[in-house]
């Protein structure tokens, strides 16, 4: 892969909202050949800054600083299936581990200008169960009794070996642990009601899904167990949200009221689109009665439904807590008509931007309701045609709620044209103008936010390039 990297520092205008000034963002562009290239953070030197690793097919490259050329890149051998970056020999510098056809390989990291990478060394052979058409990141290097070791998943469980291949421990896969993924049920067969590949009436068609492997229970000493994320809730299609309004609030889709584990998953925000226009959202809040720990069978109270103008942006992976008080907040979108005249509307369309109004309503724990007045209104615009094909129930594309600048708060990012991305940083409210907006040469198809030591890396995925945004700091 030929990766090109260049930095563009953007000077940003002052923000209207009170509080600290927002930082600018530095943008780097990394060309990729595979749209599904893996991007992850890695540390090449002990105590050194984190760098961005890109695994594009079988080409692995590192970008150790924004604005720099890739510091290192190598082609993994054909058949490589898993890749890790960690210090395996305690020399303070990271090595690259890869599994290739049952062999565990070690590559040395060679910084730019220090010559071509050396051939890999075979550490040992092991019949790993990791396989696939192209490699993907996998944690293999782990600390074990004060030394570096390598964790290898085998057919019968996880095996811990020294870098020389000595077996240090085995963790057999004895039980069917709860699946990591909801769809990974041990076995499920579903009859297709109306045959798709066969003739109706004279054929039987099944869809079979199975996740046949038992999973070993790994001890804490292999690394801290990942805490279970807060239950985000149950959402639904726009059609379901419209239908929900005719049912009682307890059956509406919902998301968790609290963003942490406090209060458990039992306090919920139920929501439905309000007829007849479905341009408002009815909200009913289910809270626990007082006394005792939260349990599913404790008494709940469900607040009367309150109507908020706009369509709720239903939370998905991230529960939006803009003011960091531990309670989920509401983000709603609405579309005012851009002027009363055809001329005004035409002008809005010609500018490629049909108005969209985003509003934030904060939860008031004392009152137990969402504030009637929005704390922020963000005016933006999207192509008119995006209203025809909504994405997750909203006309914006790539709507991302995440901490973009590393201050621990929840910010807002979205595309309001196919090849652009805008970020609004939350500073006791959102400013009307974005903190960052930039056009790109290609359609932004997806976003990822990678946590780093200080400031996150915001990765925008195009078809042939990744655009990496990092906040510059105050």
């Amino acid at each position: 892969m030929i990766a090109r990297l260049f930095a563009l520092s953007l000077a940003l205008g002052p923000l209207a909202a009170p509080g600290r000034a927002a930082p600018g963002f530095t943008v780097s562009e990394i060309a990729i050949r595979q749209p599904g290239a893996h991007v992850f953070m890695a540390q090449l030197a002990e105590g050194g800054p984190p760098c961005l690793a890109v695994l594009d097919g079988s080409f692995l490259s590192f970008y150790s600083g924004i604005g720099a050329e890739p510091s290192f890149g190598l082609n993994l051998p054909p058949g490589a299936s898993a890749v890790d970056v960690a210090d395996i020999d305690a020399d303070g510098r990271a090595e690259i581990l890869a599994i290739e056809h049952g062999r565990v390989l070690r590559f040395d990291v060679v910084t730019a200008g220090a010559g071509a990478p050396a051939d890999p060394r075979v550490l040992f052979e092991a019949a790993s169960m990791i396989s696939g058409p192209s490699p993907y990141p996998s944690v293999m290097a782990i600390p074990w009794e004060g030394k570096a070791a390598i964790a290898i998943p085998l057919e019968g469980g996880m095996q811990i070996r020294s870098p020389a291949g000595e077996i240090l421990a085995d963790f057999p896969a004895e039980s069917q642990a709860p699946p990591q993924f909801l769809f990974a049920a041990p076995f499920a067969a579903r009859t297709v009601a109306s045959a798709q590949a066969g003739s109706p009436g004279s054929s039987i068609e099944w869809v079979i899904n199975a996740s046949p492997d038992a999973t070993p229970e790994l001890p804490e000493l292999l690394g801290p167990a990942t805490p279970a994320p807060p239950l985000s809730g149950r959402t639904g299609s726009p059609g379901l949200l419209r239908e929900a309004g005719s049912r009682p609030p307890e059956s509406w889709p919902w998301f968790s009221l609290r963003t942490g584990t406090g209060g458990g998953p039992f306090e919920r925000v139920h929501f439905a689109l309000a007829p007849p226009d479905y341009r408002g959202t009815s909200i009913s809040i289910r809270r626990l009665g007082t006394g005792g720990p939260p349990t599913p069978d404790r008494a709940f109270s469900l607040s009367p439904a309150r109507l908020y103008p706009g369509v709720l942006v239903a939370p998905r992976e991230t529960l939006p807590d803009f003011n960091r008080d531990g309670y989920s907040d509401l983000l709603l979108w609405n579309t005012p008509t851009p002027g009363a005249s055809i001329e005004g509307i035409t002008r809005a369309v010609q500018e490629g931007s049909w108005p969209v109004l985003l509003s934030v309503h904060l939860f008031d724990p004392a009152q137990g309701i969402y504030a009637a007045r929005p704390i922020s209104l963000v005016r933006t615009g999207v192509p008119l045609s995006w209203f025809v094909e909504l994405e997750n129930g909203a006309p914006m594309r790539n709507l991302t709620l995440a901490d973009f600048d590393g201050d621990g708060g929840c910010d807002l990012g979205l595309s309001n044209s196919p090849g652009s991305f805008s970020i609004w940083l939350y500073r006791e409210g959102f400013s009307n103008e974005p903190s960052f907006r930039r056009p790109f040469r290609q359609t932004i198809r997806a976003t990822e936010v990678l946590a780093s030591a200080s400031r996150p890396a915001v990765v925008l995925r195009g078809a042939t390039a990744l655009f990496v945004l990092v906040a510059n700091g105050d």
Binding site: P35, G36, H38, F40, P50, S81, I130, P133, Y136, P137, S138, V139, M140, P153, Q180, A184, P186, F187, T191, V192, A193, S194, Q196, A197, G198, S199, P200, S202, S203, I204, E205, W206, V207, I208, N209, A210, S211, P212, D213, T215, L218, L222, G223, P224, T226, S246, P275, D277, Y278, R279, T337, I342, V349, G352, L384, S385, W386, V388, E389, A453
Partner: protein, 491 residues
């Protein structure tokens, strides 16, 4: 008594409307045009007419409809079995047992009761718990054409095949036809931050689709490959010749070329092989407005080449159906004319007009499996949304989701697919296919209750497509009502 029969009062076609609340239909499959009736159609009383087996009762057909006086509760329904139909009646899979019943004089007579172990025993036991409903899923199939159906049940180790021998069914073979599990290419473990690194264990999954048809069992396995593409490996087994306790021989196996990830296996013609089809959205910058383009994609040669048809701003309810009745499935594209013309024109339409012009385009498939580049049929209809598109609302949402146009029904039994349009919130209109064109004059008009959705299916199996209409009243928590308009041919 069945509610009032209602005959359409307009046009060349006759429909009679019957209230059949309890019968439900799923949405239309966009790749086959078939809607899943939540019922099995079979002649259970031997009168030659298609009866309906619903999850809790059988509706017997009389004079082309299903009178309330001819409904029979299913035996053992309280134990929530899995029911299927066979030539002599019905069969019920219960926890640890199998029972069969014949319908005689309006009552069930038990003709088989035997113990048997099922591979999905835990599922069957769970289904028998209170709060569950019986299921009507096919498990009977005559694999060797001896008029005695075999039982096929997928289980964790394979497909369990039971044969009837000496009057009782017994396990014959476990057909180990599932493909090997594949490792999911997802990041394993926690990579960052360095202090929180932790290894993960790979997740392997086996996903496949299995088709049992005639004496063959076909396994279709999807495999994701880089660049958002997929391959399918298709293995056909000779089920008819499998001997007791043995595995079926492989008739043939092939792997397709790379295909877009959104295609799925379908049957597009009668050449006996599996085809592939699907559709996805793109955006065009060629028009004054950045307009979404829907691309319909099909392969009739095992994925070796893909044919595509592009249309503006509309995903049809059904993209493939045999419109001209030649046995080959044709491609259907629809064009929303809302954004046609210049910007000002489009805006004027969007902001002020309550009607939308909509074009249906049919591309015939020829003998070589090629879809015509230019539409073989173009037909323009006007749909009244009741308010300008800019104001949204349920009508516009229903239109946008493809729910107002259907080209999967043959209402006059002529062997050609006719056009059904919900051209107003309170009306469905049928335009008959006159061979090469849809009629410009309505063949029938069907009234619609507020908020109703419709599905096309031949409910009574008489060769005429019927229209299933379902709606809920505005009373909260009210049950969904169903009315079926049975097509009765021309006047």
């Amino acid at each position: 008594m069945i509610a009032a029969a209602l005959v359409s009062l307009f046009g060349a076609l006759r429909f009679s409307g019957e209230d059949l609340t309890g019968l439900t239909a799923g949405s239309t499959d966009p790749l086959t045009g078939r809607a899943a009736l939540h019922a099995i159609q079979a002649d259970l009383d031997g009168d030659g007419a298609m009866d309906l087996m619903l999850p809790a009762e059988v509706w017997l057909q009389r004079a082309g409809t299903y009178p309330r006086t001819h409904r029979v509760a299913l035996p053992r329904a309280g134990e929530c079995p899995n029911y299927d139909t066979q030539p002599e009646g019905i069969m019920a899979r219960l926890p640890g047992s199998l029972e069969a019943y014949a319908l005689e004089g309006g009552a069930w007579r038990n003709v088989l009761a035997q113990p048997i172990e099922w591979p999905d025993a835990a599922e069957r036991a769970a289904a028998a718990e209170p709060g569950h409903a019986p299921s009507i899923e096919r498990f009977l199939h005559d694999i060797d054409s001896d008029s005695i159906p075999e039982i096929l049940v997928p289980g964790p180790g394979g497909v369990y095949l039971y044969r009837k021998n000496g009057g009782l069914y017994a396990l014959d073979s476990v057909l180990r036809v599932y493909p090997a599990a594949q490792t999911l290419p997802v990041t394993l473990g926690v990579l960052w931050p360095p202090g929180a690194r932790r290894p993960g264990f790979p997740v392997r999954q086996m996903n496949c689709r299995i088709l049992v048809e005639g004496g063959q069992l076909t396994v279709l396995q999807r495999q994701e490959i880089p660049a958002d593409q997929i391959l399918y490996t298709i293995t056909r087994h000779n089920l008819a010749a499998v001997l007791p306790g043995e595995q079926p021989g492989i008739l043939d196996q092939f792997t397709t070329g790379p295909m877009p990830e959104f295609v799925a296996p379908v049957r597009l013609n009668e050449d006996g092989s599996v085809d592939f089809a699907g559709g996805d959205w793109n955006y065009s910058d060629a028009t004054p407005l950045p307009t979404p383009i829907f691309r319909t994609v099909a392969s009739t040669n095992r994925g070796e080449s893909m044919q595509s048809i592009r249309t503006q701003s509309f995903r049809p309810r059904c993209s493939f159906f045999d419109v001209n009745g030649d046995g080959r499935v044709d491609a259907i594209a629809e064009h929303m004319k809302l954004f046609d013309g210049g910007v000002r024109e489009a805006v004027n339409r969007f902001a002020t007009q309550r009607t939308i012009d909509h074009e249906i385009r049919v591309h015939y498939q020829d003998e070589a499996g090629i879809f015509s580049r230019m539409p073989s049929i173009r037909h323009l209809v006007r749909i009244d949304l009741g308010r300008p598109a800019i104001r949204g609302g349920s009508q516009f949402e229903q239109y946008r989701s493809g729910g107002m146009i259907d080209v999967s029904g043959d209402f006059d039994g002529g062997g050609l697919a006719d056009l059904l349009v919900q051209d107003r919130s309170d009306r469905l209109t049928v335009f008959l296919n006159r061979g090469g064109a849809f009629s410009g004059e309505p063949g029938a008009e069907i009234p619609l209750p507020p908020g109703a959705r419709h599905t096309v299916a031949d409910v009574n199996g008489d060769g005429y497509s019927d229209i299933v209409i379902a709606w809920k009243s505005e009373v909260p928590e009210s049950e969904e009502s169903t009315r079926v308009y049975f097509a009765r041919g021309g006047r």
